[in-house]
Assembly symmetry: C2
Homo-oligomer: 118 residues x 2
């Protein structure tokens, strides 16, 4: 897994679903993932981990209680652990995200999507 | 630190030195850094951590014993912990790198550069 180089655009060309992260590499027990997003996600938080977003294409809002951060291409933001947030994309955006392996994307194993490896 | 968005190009415009990573964010005890590179770095390894490279601009070779991986813009590679490697850039390239806070960039605290926070 970690001994192959990863072309992010190539990985993103292999699927169309929104809010369904694909694992493309591993780093010290973390999943490095690409994801296509459009529209609003659900409000959630991760009590045990920070949540890193890097915009590869398009633009997203990270809504948090009391403020919103808008990220364009080449911009990153780390949602600190425990902070409620809702990512929203007005049109399709492509992201690189990093989370410890096994972290439910909704913050809740009951509603989380299974992260496929690409 | 982690509550500000980070524009990677903007951070990269603030320095010119090569092989001197700048910390731009934190994620679960890891430093998220940008670095400008040109020419060959030193052969080294990190016994305790994987080493993640994402090329933001330009091209680099990651030389390892027996093989070399060439990375262009939008390509990432994780050097597994303990694996000897030497990054080489034929012309200036810009990278995003992730390492646990405090990891010496040369694998050796004696020769490592101090990573500044930007």
């Amino acid at each position: 897994m970690t001994s192959q180089k990863v072309n992010l655009a190539d990985k993103l060309s292999k699927f169309t679903e929104h809010w369904a992260p694909r694992i493309v590499a591993g780093y010290n027990g973390n999943d490095i993932m690409v994801v296509k997003v459009e529209g609003p996600f659900v409000w959630h938080s991760h009590p045990e981990t920070d949540d890193l977003f890097l915009v590869l294409k398009g633009e997203i809002d990270i809504e948090m209680p009391g403020h919103t951060v808008t990220l364009g291409e080449g911009e990153l933001f780390v949602v600190p652990r425990g902070v409620e947030h809702r990512p929203v994309a007005r049109s399709e955006a492509h992201l690189l995200v990093i989370e410890p392996a096994g972290t439910p994307n909704t913050g809740d194993p009951e509603t989380a999507v299974r992260k496929e490896r690409l």
